[in-house]
């Protein structure tokens, strides 16, 4: 009985991991152009970036999930084959992650000493080379701790995707719980989430200290 609950809820673990990995990857990539808009010296671009961040961040993830999953099909039911629950889930996680990552990148960019830009410019390096070879690698390293913290919380936030019917850990816990009229599946789900976050946190710390050892300031 109890063994069935453990194995039943376990069916969703892989999907939870996939949702987190794909959602975070999408956010980490899309966060770059969002951040670039946000820090642009051209005012309209900066305002666009700012408005986008406020809009995406101001709406709860679960509302984005329903909007992305149900919104398009309302206009054209055939879009349902494009916006499957899985894709909608990844898209919503990616969207929200993009603005959080953009803000993490922006904070990290501010942490880079102006002298780095100046030294690179004084050497005659182009703006593009300066940004891509001097500034970006340093921003990435500064952003690691905050990014991994965000990724860890995304493991848990991905549970919201159960609301649009993606078969992940919380989804299985919910269905098994209602079948059995028991809260035990949620205890099991909690154990699984902890089993995911603790090793992930450990790996994140390892990554950070490895980078730090190489590039101390």
């Amino acid at each position: 009985m109890s063994g069935e609950v453990w194995s039943g809820v376990a069916n969703g673990i892989l999907t939870t991991v996939q949702l987190t990995v794909f959602g975070f990857a999408l956010g980490a990539v899309l966060g770059v152009p969002v951040m670039l808009l946000r820090v642009s010296t051209w005012r309209p671009a900066r305002w666009t970036g700012r408005a986008f961040i406020e809009l995406v961040r101001g709406v709860p993830l679960i509302v984005w999930l329903f909007l992305i999953y149900n919104g398009p099909t309302q206009f054209d039911p055939s879009l349902g084959t494009v916006f499957t629950s899985w894709r909608s889930g990844v898209a919503a996680l990616g969207l929200v992650s993009a603005v959080y990552m953009a803000e993490i990148y922006r904070g990290s960019l501010r942490a880079i000493n102006a002298g780095q830009w100046e030294a690179s410019q004084a050497l005659g390096m182009s703006r593009f080379d300066t940004a891509s070879r001097i500034i970006a690698p340093q921003v990435t390293r500064v952003a690691v701790p905050a990014s991994t913290t965000y990724a860890l919380s995304l493991i848990k936030d991905s549970s919201l995707v159960s609301a649009i019917g993606v078969f992940e850990t919380t989804y299985y816990a919910t269905t098994i719980s209602s079948t059995l009229s028991s809260a035990t599946p949620f205890v099991v789900a909690g154990v699984y989430y902890i089993a995911l976050t603790i090793p992930a946190a450990w790996a994140a710390r390892r990554l950070d200290s490895n980078l730090r050892r190489k590039v101390m300031r």
């Binding site: 000493n113 002298g115 780095q116 100046e118 030294a119 690179s120 410019q121 004084a122 050497l123 005659g124 390096m125 182009s126 080379d129 070879r133 001097i134 690698p137 340093q138 390293r141 190489k214 590039v215 101390m216 300031r217």
Partner: protein
């Protein structure tokens, strides 16, 4: 250097500033300064903080954009009141090496990579060529064994010598030093001053903002004393140190020389 080059360099100055002015809003930081540096000359800029020495130096490679005036380095001229073309900017900066108070090495690269990357990206040198040059320069500044170290593993004096090597690797016509020893312990600063003295002896054109009065007096050929965004006095360093003509210069020299 060919004969023709030598003849040309006699007639053209290495750095020529004409009426260079820098304003931050209402604040006038540089008051129409004109200055000439001959090839092979070492010019020291001294004066109290806030005098505009660093700003003037940073105008030479356009890290600061002057609000008026003309800057010529090794035949490349930039006018402050015209739009500065990307090509002119690159041409000017490729002739000028700069060394900063805070070293500004790239912390995510080894000493060697710090020196090779700009050579490859700016001059288009091959990796092998750039590395050969970098290693030669590192041994010249006494740091051949630091090639594979990251800057954070090097002392301040070592970092500054790596930064000098990085600038020299691009074969600049002129070297600018912005208080190169101010962030260093006095003893460590000596390593850096030694390298600078050697550079001067080899005939490098240098403009040095410094608080090292001994260096200003003994190594420079021409001394510029600045105060309140203007040149107060300039001329032979020994003469100025021995017999300053301006009251403001006397006051400054007394403050820095009679500290004990």
């Amino acid at each position: 250097m060919s004969l023709a080059d030598a003849a040309a360099s006699k007639t053209t100055s290495a750095i020529r500033l004409d009426g260079v002015e820098k304003r931050f809003g209402d604040h006038l930081v540089l008051k129409r300064i004109s200055l000439e540096v001959q090839p092979g000359q070492v010019v020291a800029l001294i004066g109290p903080s806030g005098a505009g020495k660093s700003t003037l130096l940073r105008c030479i490679n356009l890290l600061e954009r002057p609000t008026a005036g003309t800057i010529t380095v090794d035949g490349v001229t930039v006018h402050a009141d015209h739009e500065i073309k990307e090509r002119d900017l690159a041409a000017l900066r490729s002739r000028v090496g700069m060394v900063f108070q805070s070293f500004n090495l790239f912390p995510h690269m080894t000493a060697l990579r710090n020196i090779t990357l700009p050579q490859q990206r700016v001059l288009g040198r091959s990796k092998a060529e750039a590395e050969a040059r970098a290693r030669a320069l590192l041994s010249r500044v006494g740091l051949a064994d630091k090639a594979d170290q990251y800057p954070a593993r090097c002392s301040g004096g070592q970092q500054q010598r790596i930064a000098i090597a990085r600038a020299l690797a691009l074969d600049p016509k002129v070297m600018l030093f912005d208080e190169p020893t101010s962030a260093l312990d006095p003893e460590v600063g000596l390593e850096v001053l030694k390298v600078m003295r050697e550079l001067a002896d080899e005939g490098m054109t240098m403009a040095v903002v410094t608080h090292e009065m001994q260096f200003a007096r003994d190594v420079s050929d021409h001394l510029v004393v600045m105060g309140d965004g203007d040149i107060i006095e300039e001329g032979d360093p020994h003469q100025i140190f021995a017999d300053p003509q301006q009251a403001r210069t006397r006051q400054f020299l007394r403050a820095v020389l009679d500290r004990e």
